[in-house]
Symmetry: C2
Subunit: 194 residues, 2 copies
Amino acid sequence: MDKERDFSDGKKTALTKLEKARNEDMVDEKILPILDIINQSEKFYTSSSCAGRIVLLELPSIGDKKNAEFLGKWHRNIEPSEIISASTKAKTGQLWLLAQSPIIHITAKTNLDAEGMLKTAISSGFKNSGLKSLGRKIVIEVCSTERLDAPVGKNGRLFCNEDYLHLLVEIANDVIDRSNLKLDRLTNELKKKI
Amino acid sequence: MDKERDFSDGKKTALTKLEKARNEDMVDEKILPILDIINQSEKFYTSSSCAGRIVLLELPSIGDKKNAEFLGKWHRNIEPSEIISASTKAKTGQLWLLAQSPIIHITAKTNLDAEGMLKTAISSGFKNSGLKSLGRKIVIEVCSTERLDAPVGKNGRLFCNEDYLHLLVEIANDVIDRSNLKLDRLTNELKKKI
């Protein structure tokens, strides 16, 4: 009973937050259709999610992701010149170029619902998906394996030559393209199943 | 009942496989103590696991991880010269340097056991852990967020200059060092709880 109330209270809060973010243009448009499909079901609701992105990050010290600064963030394909331009803001620490595939957090009403959603996500190509918590709150993280995590410079200076930068951007763009295809596949699967 | 028999049959098969791998020196020594602690519990058993490693990989085409070839594999800190030496075996496709933190697969007897194990893993620093399947077989994947996934060359040629290669190796070694610390923490936590 408590668990059911937790779920419906949680869903109300999450949807209000999503609505606010949507009105402020803070949600990536590409992810909205899929969030809407999931939230229409009485068995699930979504929380923090991202459609996939390319990021240029400055880390003050190794592994210090908490104090990382975003020098550039793109939810689309990019050009090498955009990295060079964003890197001029760099000061101290390591510079990393990341390409991240989509991530969707979904709370499920029951273990059985979670099991079904996990299977759908994995069979739609989101092979790195898993349940992040069980028990009172059941949370599924839908995510994929494609990614790039490459250091590209240190203390304000890019280390890459032109060839290398082109290779990195080609790979980062490929992560974004594959992300879009996988989101389409998941959207179609969910339309059938939810 | 069926589920219980599945669990005990699965555990027998997994332990036989682990014993065989151990006799053939196919298991990384650093991971053995933790596998033994988990397997001593009647609630869990382990399957494919790795203590963390540095890998030089050749991918024939983008994302084609199935046909990837391992040019070098190390479960320890490395020197830049080892990458250069391993890269001489490269032929066609992209060269990637990966550093992977530990990954442990654990089958649990019940959802409640899985929930407890997941909490212990996350609180010991394995923040990327999750349940990969629920239902008849309950599998927890214990893993961490530190990693390096960097392309370093193409068609037999390394793209990195000396500075960059040193930075990559420094980061890869840092992933291994952090992996060792986290494995120690998890070992201590599990000793208390199992």
